[in-house]
């Protein structure tokens, strides 16, 4: 197990350096001068501009700037945001709980609905439920996420007035946030109605962000189940006299989970990408919105650091999936 983890960590290295290089090059390839953007509408004098260029080190050769950045990264220093002058690391992890909370809820939504839906569709293959579910899944998968979000806001928040339009919690509430997770913080704050408000604010973003993973998981579960249900060991399970739950929910699902877990792992990347759009639409103060803002401000350190941290998180999630995979599939479990 340790050997497996170490070998996987080694494969991280090229990816890690690749991401630093790409994020460094990508933000500089965008047209626009961060100093001018920072100065805003008032403009900036030639002398002051030249002074700032020297201060930020933009006058040095590009490879020197990259090595400088890399050296900082190796020491755990992602630099300071141009705009807020705060360390990128602190900025990121101040906002990350909001994104994590949203992503976890979206994933839970997708898995808790997608797995049973896929199983039921497979068991009722070709019948009405199966067809209805699979067509819905196709629609969900194909729908542009921003459009779906706007549609939900108009119907659920606008016409029906069931949920708030944006934010993480109602402005009426103010309490300390030791964990950064609104659901937890609102609970321990003891303020009446705070938790309910946090939940209400979460509903729409969760549904929007979880829709594509939900569709993917439902479809993958269905096809994996169909394959597994024709296996010999399912016949054995039936010959034992097991009922539908024992056959489908235990013997078949356990095997069908193997490909589904892979898909869930891959969805995490999609989820973080989707979070950028979802957070922007719902004014959700997470890293997605922060990244978009940073790109518009040409905040080089923030964009580089944000991309790198997101990449590392995705890599860690994938490693976790590989480990989980070993637990689900005894055939690849090795000492």
């Amino acid at each position: 197990m340790l050997k497996f983890l170490l070998s996987r960590l080694l494969t991280f290295l090229p990816t890690f350096f690749g991401v630093t290089l790409i994020s460094f090059a990508f933000i500089r390839a965008l047209p626009g001068d961060p100093i001018i953007v920072m100065a805003g509408e008032r403009g900036i004098t030639e002398e002051r501009h030249a002074e700032l260029v020297r201060q930020f080190g933009f006058d040095r050769p590009i490879w020197e700037q990259y090595l400088d950045y890399l050296w900082g990264v190796m020491q755990g220093d992602l630099g300071q945001s141009f705009v807020t002058k705060k360390p990128v690391w602190d900025e990121f992890f101040a906002l990350f709980p909001a994104t994590l909370e949203l992503s976890v809820c979206a994933m839970a939504f997708a898995v808790l609905l997608g797995l049973p839906a896929g199983v039921i569709a497979a068991v009722n293959r070709g019948k009405f439920f199966d067809r209805a579910l699979m067509s819905t899944a196709l629609v969900g998968y194909s729908m542009p996420i921003f459009w779906w979000a706007l549609l939900l806001i108009i119907v659920v928040s606008g016409w029906l007035q069931w949920t708030p339009v944006s934010g993480r919690i109602s402005l009426m509430f103010f309490f300390p946030q030791p964990t950064g997770f609104m659901l937890i913080d609102s609970l321990i704050s003891g303020e009446k109605g705070a938790f309910a408000s946090a939940v209400q604010h979460l509903i729409l973003p969760t549904v929007v962000l979880g829709t594509i993973p939900l569709a993917v998981i439902a479809r993958q579960t269905r096809s994996a189940m169909l394959e597994v249900l024709s296996e010999d060991y399912i016949r054995t399970a039936r010959a034992k006299g097991l009922g539908p739950f024992g056959i489908n929910g235990v013997h078949a699902l356990r095997n069908a989970l193997i490909p589904v877990v892979t898909v869930i792992g891959l969805s995490v990347g999609t989820l973080l990408a989707g979070a950028i759009l979802t957070e922007t639409i719902f004014s959700w103060p997470g890293i997605g919105k922060w990244m978009v803002d940073s790109i518009f401000r040409r905040d080089y350190p923030a964009v580089q650091g944000g991309l790198l941290l997101i990449a590392v998180i995705v890599m860690i999630v994938n490693l976790t999936v590989d480990v989980v995979y070993g637990f689900i599939n005894p055939r690849i479990r090795k000492g």
Partner: protein, 325 residues
């Protein structure tokens, strides 16, 4: 009264090209503690008739029978839920491919204890003890370790022993073994067959052995039923069946045994079992039969008298010399 009695069982599958009759009016009868062999080529409906009785066929199958009775229960009028209480307990089945018949995601122990949990009220510890006992009974060395093993860590022969142990978990009255040795090495085949017949005698259970191997039948069975293209074509006790086969198909199967070959080339039966679209109008075996005439090709034969092995043939073989010819 027979333990298992099936009369006039037919199974039809709805396929894209119309209905396919896999089993056509088969009778099966087994007494308590008896060993019956069902013999036939691939596609003769041996497995399907047993799967139909266990309720293990997919929903595309339509099952009709005049009588289907097991141990006093009428299997025909039974709901799926009622049937589930019997199968796996009083009536168990093992299959051709032991390696793929065990669920790869669960340990052997989990899979055997599952049957006990379902059909008995033994507690956790008693189930474990019973599982160890069963593994010892089927000759699995080091049962404690094997209970923790996953199927991919077991050999084919070992997997089949686990399957047998699972089937025997609740002391069934009837065990159906569907080609239990086909996927195994020859040396292991003999061991598994011996294990099955020994257990059958020790436990006093009835055993239906489905096979296409006449050699296996010769070594084990008391009574033999020969099936061809979904029909029962002959039924006799084992010894007379081998000495005086009554149906030309049985005779041809016996002649194809390597032990009986007199020439350098092993005799074969030309052609294959008719499928969905090439069923002959008369006797189903007529296209492949050496003795067939126009009557065979146009009129389906009825089973002959019990003295003639109920042979479904217009001209049952009357003496051994003719069969050898």
């Amino acid at each position: 009264m027979a333990l298992l009695e099936i009369r006039d069982l037919s199974v039809e599958f709805a396929t894209a090209g119309g209905t396919f009759r896999a089993v056509d009016g088969v009778d099966v009868s087994v007494d308590q503690g008896e060993l019956l062999a069902i013999v036939g080529e691939s596609g003769s409906g041996k497995s399907v008739s047993m799967l139909a009785m266990m309720g293990l066929l997919p929903w595309t199958a339509t099952i009709t029978a005049e009588v289907m009775r097991f141990d006093g229960h009428d299997l025909l009028g039974m709901s799926a839920r009622q049937r589930r209480r019997i199968i796996g307990r009083d009536m168990a089945m093992i299959f051709q491919e032991p390696m793929s018949s065990l669920n790869p995601c669960f340990t052997a122990g989990f899979q055997i204890k599952e049957a006990l949990r379902l059909h008995t009220d033994l507690d956790r510890r008693a189930r474990h003890a019973r599982a160890v006992e069963l593994f010892e009974m089927v000759g699995i060395p080091d049962p404690e370790a094997r209970l923790r093993a996953f199927p991919h860590q077991l050999s084919g022969g070992m997997s089949q022993r686990v399957m047998i142990a699972m089937a025997l978990a609740c002391d069934p009255k009837l065990l159906i073994a569907d080609e239990p040795t086909t996927a195994l090495d020859v040396t292991i085949q003999a061991q598994i067959l011996e294990l099955l017949t020994t257990l059958q005698q020790e436990q006093g259970m009835a055993l239906i052995l489905i096979t296409h191997d006449m050699g296996v039948v010769a070594e084990t069975a008391e009574r033999v039923q020969v099936q061809y293209a979904g029909q029962k074509v002959e039924e006799q006790p084992a010894i007379p069946l081998f000495s005086t086969p009554r149906h030309p198909y049985t005779a041809a199967l016996l002649a194809a045994l390597p032990e009986r070959a007199t020439e350098r080339r092993l005799p074969t039966i030309p052609g294959i079992v008719p499928g969905q679209f090439d069923r002959p109008p008369g006797c189903l075996f007529a296209p492949r039969c050496r003795f067939a005439d126009d009557r065979c090709r146009s009129t389906p034969p009825k089973p002959a008298s019990p003295e003639l092995g109920l042979a479904r043939c217009h001209y049952p073989l009357t003496h051994a010399a003719e069969a050898e010819a």
